[in-house]
Amino acid sequence: MRIAATLENRPAAMLALVFLAMLHGAVVLAGFLAPYPFAEQHRESPFAPPTRIHFFDAAGHFHPRPLVYGPEGSQTYPIELFVHGRLFGVQEPGVLFLLGSDGFGRDVFSRLLYGGQVSLLTGLAAAFLSLGLGWVLGTAAGFYGGWLDRLLMRSGELFLVLPWLYLLLAVRGFLPLHITALQAFLLLIVVIGAIGWVRPARLVRGVVLSGKERPFVLAAQGFGATDAYLMRRHILPLTAGVILTQATVLIPQYILAEVTLSFLGLGVGEPVPSWGNMLSEARQYYTLVSHPWMLTPGLAAIPVLLAYLVLADALLPDQRYRYP
């Protein structure tokens, strides 16, 4: 396939793909890889800095298995594997906060992994929804033209111009109360995805429009092919490239959108973490100045977005056609 060939030629893109795969795998396995459940509070260690790991104890002996010092300062706790059903951890009352703890004493590293589930998967799922919607509507508009085309394009403009922030605040207000964290998450995906169908639709429409006029399609029409056959056999394959490229552009945008929405209080509720709502606690002045490890969700997003960017560049070097 052309796409696989394109990627093979660019080692950076391959690297990005591998990185993304590993990250998504790690995030999916958060229940195993994270040393603590995301809601577990350690109220006696709020805002603890990242736990220092020692290979040499106070007396200077070397331990092949690293250890941490307990809260009293003298007791050591070795890091053990496969403890409490998780990959690694320490026995109570020792704590292993690889990236420190937040205001309630919850492990930031664990919450980062679990939070990645929400943020990354929101990006994927919302992109899927947008692309699906955009694909259907764009193909219909491009293929049938006429009033359908005009209607879709005009309502597309309306969507682009809507103050989505204000609308989302309004929607949150009158939702029923008994929404679990999962349902809030799904709602978030639906909203983000539904708002963003316009650009993919426009691109697909463009491709379908030009594809419609191609000689082989006209020939097939002349031979009496039905609309369904034309679409399935000739037009849709043309759109595959566009859809895939748009995916690499939309997913990072939606990850950022989730971060922004959660930042504003419209995302998944406590205690479920997402990179967005973890950042909103970090945004306060006192946190930045005194507890800089709280910024890690923001920093974690950067390599992810970078990887998607590299992929997008590899698939479509000419970025002009990404922003119609």
Binding site: A39, Q41, R43, P46, G103, F104, G105, L169, R172, G173, F174, P176, L177, H178, I179, T180, A181, G265, G269, E270, P271, E281, R283, Q284, Y285, Y286, T287, V289, S290
Partner: protein, 566 residues
């Protein structure tokens, strides 16, 4: 009984404040979170506007924010009739508004007419209406005004605080035309605004700052004869949000900070030495946080879940169990960095005079909580989840204001505490207005974390909260008849304490109210945050108080010690 209260006055009826020794000059910069919206004393409802307006206005009798006692302000003395129904106030002679225009009894009568006017919808109107009948205000002569109360009120003097006297020569025309609420918006030129406060409007830059300048006609002075205020200018700078407010204070751009959050206070404390400011933890204030339950009669179209949840909330044992499970110490420590006091009653600890000291401290007791739940028929399933007598899992939601991080943090801690009892609590952060709409209008909620702040030490200001017919009776407002016997008892006690003459008897009645509230727990008291404030160390007479306005209540007395602000 003849009650006479006199202020010390000098030659032309100026109030001399004893003990002051500052010197004039300088500008004070005060960073606010959001911009004031109007300068109209009658319609202003938001705190930002009131902050500015209160510095430009004066009332007849003022409550000293530090001693909580009433003091003569524009009224230099007053007499009370033996039955407590008639007050006659004498104004200071020679008073002038900030534009030089004289002030006399006509302005006082005008002010009260405006506030009592039904078409104006002033917030003070309900305060001035006792038992459904308004206070009647009559001018006796140029300097004497008579106030006739429809029914006795033990602390009627306190009613005068905060009712700013308005200039008839500037506002009467607007009032007659029915346009009073549009008067004195932000775009009004300074010449069109006048008041009797220590400052007057100098300049307004939209979105950025409101600058006040010294009122040359202010009626207070210090013992050395300097006319107050000491400061030449008071500059309200709009910072935008709390973090920017803290940043400005820390960088020295602003001189005072009022009620930073506990965490920001902690950060500021670390640098106070090198940056040259002092921070004060004034102590437990008048604000109290609590969790309350939806005990309303639900409308017919309410979702079934809420009715099911209410069947749990209505059990006193359930509410007591929730209260017993909450870890208030951690709340004070984690959310407020220790700058808060766990509550033992819904009366803030700052209110030492009225708090029932005999009530026991609330200590976290999960064992007791489980006993209470078992007694009410709840059971635990094998996976630890709490179920009621019909096998339904105990799950409900708690509302918290999304814009206030401390509320959502409080709710998160409560969520975790109750989880240990097997309850699943969903935290629903909503913006303030949606939250209030649910709590007060539609009644479609389960529980809510909220806080109230008393504006005065006296329990009378909270009548609307404790009376079952009150609009602020949060868990079940505006009842036609008391829904429960204990609410009826509270109604009776509150009504009796309003007319009781002796403060000892009033305290006894109010203590009983607190006992009932703590037994039936319609709201579960949590903590009371301390009042925190800070100012540059060269600011003299900086004495933050526990009541609004925490730092500027004595703005006319603030001054710069030698070698300070330009």
């Amino acid at each position: 009984m003849f009650l006479l209260c006199q202020g010390i006055w000098a030659a032309d009826d100026v109030l001399v404040v004893p003990g002051l020794n500052g010197h004039p000059g300088g500008r004070l910069v005060y960073a606010t979170r959001i911009e004031a919206r109007t300068l109209n004393p009658v319609t202003a409802a938001d705190a930002a506007s009131r902050e500015v307006i209160d510095r430009m206005s004066a009332d007849l009798i003022h409550i000293n924010r530090s001693s909580y006692r009433t003091e003569p302000a524009l009224a230099k003395s007053w007499t009370v009739s033996p039955d407590g129904l008639r007050y006659v106030l004498e104004l200071r002679h020679g008073l002038r508004f900030s534009d030089g225009h004289p002030c006399d009894a006509d302005d006082v009568v005008f002010t009260y007419q405006v506030h009592l006017d039904e078409k104006v919808h002033s917030s003070e109107r309900d305060l001035l209406t006792l038992n459904g009948k308004p206070i009647v205000v009559r001018k006796l002569d140029a300097w004497h005004v008579a106030f006739a109360l429809p029914s006795p009120d033990a602390v009627a003097e306190r009613l005068f605080d905060g009712i700013w006297i308005l200039p008839r020569h500037l506002l009467e025309k607007a009032w007659h035309e029915g346009k009073l609420s549009e008067a004195w918006g932000l775009r009004t030129p300074p010449e069109a605004i006048a008041g009797l406060g220590p400052f007057r409007l100098k300049e307004h830059v939209p979105g950025q700052r409101i600058v006040l300048e010294r009122n040359p006609y202010y009626w207070k002075s210090d013992p050395a004869g300097h006319h107050l205020p000491y400061l030449e200018e008071l500059d309200f700078v709009v910072a935008g949000n709390e973090d920017l407010q803290v940043l400005r204070f820390e960088s020295g751009e602003s001189d005072v900070i009022s009620r930073p959050s506990a965490r920001n206070f902690g950060v500021l404390e670390k640098q106070s030495e090198q940056k040259g400011y002092i921070l004060k933890n004034v102590g437990a204030g008048f604000e109290y946080n609590f969790l309350f339950f939806n005990l309303n009669d639900l409308p017919a179209n309410a979702p079934v879940e809420i009715a099911v949840h209410q069947s749990w909330f209505r059990r006193t044992g359930f509410r007591q169990a929730v209260s017993a499970a909450i870890d208030r110490e951690s709340l004070a420590r984690l959310v407020y960095m220790g700058y808060a006091t766990p509550l033992s009653a819904p009366v803030p600890p700052g209110n030492r005079l009225w708090l029932d000291a005999s009530l026991p401290r609330l200590v976290r007791n999960p064992t007791r909580a489980r006993e209470l739940l078992t007694a009410e028929g709840f059971r635990w399933s094998s996976d630890g989840a709490l179920t009621d007598s019909q096998g339904r899992k105990v799950e409900f939601s708690v509302l918290a204001s999304a814009s206030n991080p401390e509320r959502t943090q409080t709710a998160t801690l409560i969520q975790s505490d109750l989880q240990q009892l097997g309850m699943r609590v969903d935290l629903v952060p909503l913006d303030t207005r949606s939250l209030l709409d649910r709590v007060q209008r539609t009644h479609l909620y389960d529980t809510c974390v909220l806080s109230l702040a008393s504006s005065d030490a006296d329990p009378n200001v909270e009548m609307n909260v404790w009376l079952s017919s009150g609009g602020s009776h949060l868990w079940h407002p505006e009842q036609a008849h008391p829904a429960t016997p204990w609410e009826g008892e509270i109604d009776d006690l509150m009504r009796r304490q309003i007319v009781a003459r002796k403060s000892g008897e009033r305290k006894r009645l109010y203590d009983r109210v607190q006992e009932i509230l703590m037994q039936y727990l319609p709201l579960v008291p949590l903590v009371s945050p301390n009042v925190l404030a800070g100012a540059k160390k060269e600011l003299g007479n900086f004495r933050p108080a526990l009541l609004d306005h925490y730092t500027l209540w004595n703005v006319e007395e603030l001054y710069w010690t030698a070698g300070a602000r330009k």
